[in-house]
Amino acid sequence: MRVSLIAAGALLCATLFVATPTARAEPTLRVLTTSTDLREIARAVGGSEVTVDCVVKGPEDAHYIRARPSLIRAAHSADVLIVIGRDLEMGYASLLREDSRNEKIQKGRLGFIDASEGIVALEVPTGPVDRSMGDVHPSGNPHYLTDPVNSKQVARTIADRFAKIDPDHADGYEKRRAAFERSVDVAMWGAALLAKQPARRLEKRLQRGQLASFLKGRGLEGELGGWAALLAPYAGRKVVSYHGLFVYLLDRFHLVEAAKIEPKPGIDPTPRHTLAVVRTMKSEAARVVLYASYQPERTAKQIAEQGNAVATKLAHMPGALPGSDSYLEAVEMNIRRLASALAATKEK
C-alpha cells in the first residue's frame, strides 16, 4: 500500500506541475457556441461584456464534431452554452453538457440557450420518422441561420437571455441587439427603402415572391437596395444543393430547391439518384448546384456539368471560406455568389 500511495502522490505532483492555473478577470460572461454564426451573433450582442468561444471552426461540418477534452474543458468554464438545436449537435452536445460538470449550462438552466427557439422551421417531417430515411431531423432543418432574417430572431433570444443572466448590462445588450438588427436590415434592403417600409413586411413579400408587385404598387421599385436587390430578380428560379444547408436562404428569396444531391440526409449520392437529379435539373431548369467546403467538389461539379449548370460553393457558416469571417460577410458572400450563378445561367 505504501508503494501505491507514493506512486499516486508522484502522479498527482507530476500533473500539478504540468498544470498552470491562470487567473481570469471575472466581469465578463463566458459564452460557448456550437457554430460560428452563433459566435458572431453572440459577440455582436454581447460586446465587451462577453468573451465568446466556439467548438467548431468555419470550414467544419457541425454535424460531426468530436467532444475532445479541450471542448469539454471550455464547456466547464462557460457561463452560457448556445446551441443551434433541432438535433444538429446530436452527436456531442449531451456529452459536452454532462462531462462539463457545469450546472449552469444544463438543460432548463439560464445558461443553456437553444437558439432555434422562435424560429419558423422548414422541412419539419409531417409523419413519423425513422433511420431508414437517413439522418432526418425530426424537428426540422437546423441550418436556419443561412437566412439573415432568422439571425435577428436569434439575436433577440440571445439578448433576452444575456439580460436575464446579467441584468446590470441589460441596456447594453438591448442596444447592441438593435444595432445588429439594423445592420442586417440595411444590408438586406438598403436604407432608402427601410425609411418607407418596415423590414418585416418586405421580408414576407420577398419570401412569397410578391416583392416586385408590392413595390410597384407603392411606387417604390427604385428604392430597393442591398441583398434583396441582388437576388429579387431571380425569384422563382430553381437550384439544386448537396445537402439541405441553404434551404432557408433559398426560401427567403423565393428560390426553390428542386432536388438534393444526397438521396437522403447524410447518405452519399448513388448513380441512380444522381441520374434522377440531373433529369430534374433539365426538366425544371435548375441550373445552379450549391455545395459547401466540406462536401465533395468533384461530385458537385460533375452533376453541374451533366445538368448544364454552374456549381457554386457557398459558406455554410462564417469562416467557412476566406473572406467570410463575420456573419454579414458570410451572408453577403453567399448572396453575391448565388446571384452571379443565377445571372450566368439565365440565358441558357
Binding site: 501505491s4 468530436r66 477534452p69 438545436g85 446530436m90 452527436g91 439522418d135
Partner: protein, 437 residues
C-alpha cells in the same frame, strides 16, 4: 397538447375571420378614402396576417416531450476462421467478446439505457447478451452506474458497476473497438471482459487552460472481471492471467479493495490535431498468496488528425500506443509441471500500437501490432511471450452499421503461428451514440 393545438387553431380561425371582415369593410370604404390610406390599411392587414401565420408555424424547440430514456441495442457478429484449431482459437482470442471459433460468433448484443435520473444524476446501464460456444445464452450486467452532474470545483462522482478508468482500451465497449478483437495482452492483464467491478469513483477536471483530468476509484478486488486481482476462476485454472496457488481472500481492510487512478492531459496542437496523454495505476490484493499484491501501471498516448473540411468526420488519422506493466506477487507453490516455485513476483509487460486511417468517407483501414513480454516459465499457457499483427478494413454503411474484414497473424512461443480471417458486422438500433474523443 392536442387540446391546446385545437384551441390555438380555433383562435386563429376566428382572428382570420375578423381580418376578412375588416378587409371587406375597408374595400367598401375605398370609394370614400384616397389610395394611400387604403394601401396603409391593406399593409396593416398584411402585417397582421403575417404575424398570425408565423405564430401558427413556429415549432417550439424540443416541444414538451417527456424524454425519460435513450434506449439502444448494439449487436456485433463475427464469422471467419483460423489456421488454429477451435480450442487453440479460444486461447488466442481469450477476450470475452472476441470471435472464438471457426464459423459464426455472437460477439456482443448490448442493451444500452441512458437518461437523467433527476437534476443531480445521469445514469447508464449496459446489459450484455451473448451466446457462448456451446450455444448457451448468457446475460451479464456489464455496467450500471450513476454520475453526478453538477458537483462544484470540477468534480464528478460515479457510483455503481463500471469499467475501471485504466488506459484507453479498458473502458471501451466492443462496438468502439477499431478491430474485431481486443489486444490479447489486455485479456491477460485486465481480463477478457475488461477490468470492471462495483465501486465508487471521483474525477476532477483541473481549473487549468489545458484539459487535465485526474480520476481516483475504489472497487471490489474479487470477481472474474478483476483478473489480476482476486479472480475465482484462477482457482480452477481456467483463467489465463494469473499465476501461483490461489486461495480464498476476504475483505478485512481498505487494502483488500482495488485502488486505481488515472491522469490525462490533452493538447490541441492546431485546429486539426489533438493529442491525449495518460498515466494509469491500479493496486490491490491478489489470490496467489496470503498477503500477495498486484500493481498495474499503464501509459498511453493518442494523436488524432481530422481535416477541417472533413465530411462526416472523414478523412482522419489516429495513432495510439498503450502500455501496461504488472507486478504480481505470489507465495511459493508447485506448478502444473511439478516444479516448485519460490515466493516471488511476476513482472510482465504488454503493449500495442495502432493506427486508423479514415481515408475516404465511411472507409477506414487500421493496423495494430501487439506484444507480450512474459515473466512466467515459458510453458505457462496464457503468460508466454507472444506477438500479433492485424490489419482491418472497415466500411461504415452509416453511423449505425458497419462491416469489417480483419486478417491477423499470431506468433506465440507456445502455440506457434496462426493466421486468422474474421468478418464482423455491427448494427446499432435506437438512440444516436456520442462522438467521444
Amino acid at each position: 397538447m392536442r387540446e391546446q393545438m385545437r384551441l390555438m387553431e380555433e383562435r386563429h380561425a376566428a382572428e382570420i375571420a375578423d381580418l376578412r371582415r375588416e378587409f371587406a369593410q375597408s374595400t367598401e370604404q375605398s370609394t370614400e378614402t384616397d389610395g394611400s390610406e387604403l394601401t396603409a390599411e391593406i399593409d396593416d392587414l398584411l402585417d397582421r396576417m403575417d404575424d398570425l401565420e408565423d405564430q401558427a408555424r413556429v415549432t417550439p424547440a424540443g416541444r414538451g416531450a417527456f424524454k425519460l430514456l435513450d434506449v439502444s441495442l448494439n449487436a456485433l457478429f463475427a464469422a471467419g476462421g483460423s489456421t488454429a484449431q477451435d480450442d487453440e482459437i479460444e486461447q488466442l482470442n481469450a477476450g470475452g467478446h472476441d470471435p472464438n471459433r471457426r464459423g459464426f460468433t455472437v460477439q456482443n448484443v448490448e442493451l444500452i439505457l441512458k437518461g437523467a435520473v433527476d437534476p443531480y444524476f445521469t445514469a447508464t446501464a449496459n446489459i450484455v447478451y451473448q451466446i457462448d460456444r456451446d450455444g448457451e445464452s448468457q446475460v451479464e450486467l456489464e455496467e450500471a452506474y450513476a454520475e453526478s452532474v453538477a458537483l462544484p470545483f470540477g468534480l464528478r462522482a460515479k457510483v455503481g458497476q463500471y469499467f475501471t478508468n485504466f488506459g484507453r482500451h479498458n473502458p471501451q465497449h466492443p462496438h468502439q473497438w477499431e478491430f474485431v478483437d481486443m489486444p490479447f495482452g489486455w485479456t491477460r492483464m485486465l481480463g477478457g471482459d475488461g477490468m470492471r467491478g462495483p465501486g465508487a469513483q471521483l474525477s476532477w477536471l483541473l481549473p487549468t487552460d489545458t484539459a487535465i483530468e485526474i480520476t481516483g476509484s475504489v472497487q471490489n478486488a474479487n470477481g472474474e472481471t478483476m483478473s489480476s486481482f482476486v479472480d475465482p476462476e484462477s482457482q480452477d485454472g481456467s483463467s489465463q492471467s494469473t499465476f501461483g496457488a490461489q486461495r480464498e481472500h476476504e475483505v478485512r481492510s481498505l487494502d483488500d479493495l482495488v485502488w486505481s487512478g488515472r491522469a490525462t492531459a490533452s493538447f490541441d496542437v492546431d485546429d486539426e490535431w489533438t493529442t491525449l496523454f495518460g498515466t494509469s495505476a491500479a493496486f490491490g490484493p491478489n489470490s496467489a498468496g496470503s498477503s500477495a499484491r498486484t500493481s498495474l501501471l499503464g501509459l498511453d498516448a493518442t494523436a488524432r488528425w481530422t481535416s477541417l473540411e472533413a465530411q462526416r468526420g472523414f478523412p482522419f488519422l489516429e495513432g495510439r500506443v498503450e502500455y501496461v506493466g504488472r507486478d504480481y506477487e505470489f507465495d511459493a507453490f508447485t506448478d502444473g509441471s511439478g516444479r516448485s516455485q519460490r515466493s516471488d513476483s511476476l513482472n510482465d509487460e504488454t503493449w500495442y500500437v495502432q493506427t486508423v486511417w479514415g481515408f475516404t468517407p465511411d472507409w477506414t483501414v487500421a493496423g495494430r501490432y501487439e506484444d507480450f513480454l512474459g515473466d512466467a516459465p515459458q510453458d505457462t499457457i496464457g503468460l508466454e511471450d507472444r506477438t500479433r499483427i492485424a490489419i482491418a478494413v472497415t466500411h461504415y454503411f452509416s453511423e449505425f452499421s458497419k462491416l469489417r474484414l480483419q486478417v491477423s497473424r499470431d506468433d506465440s512461443d507456445l502455440t506457434g503461428n496462426a493466421t486468422s480471417v474474421w468478418l464482423q458486422f455491427e448494427f446499432n438500433l435506437g438512440a444516436h451514440g456520442v462522438h467521444k474523443f
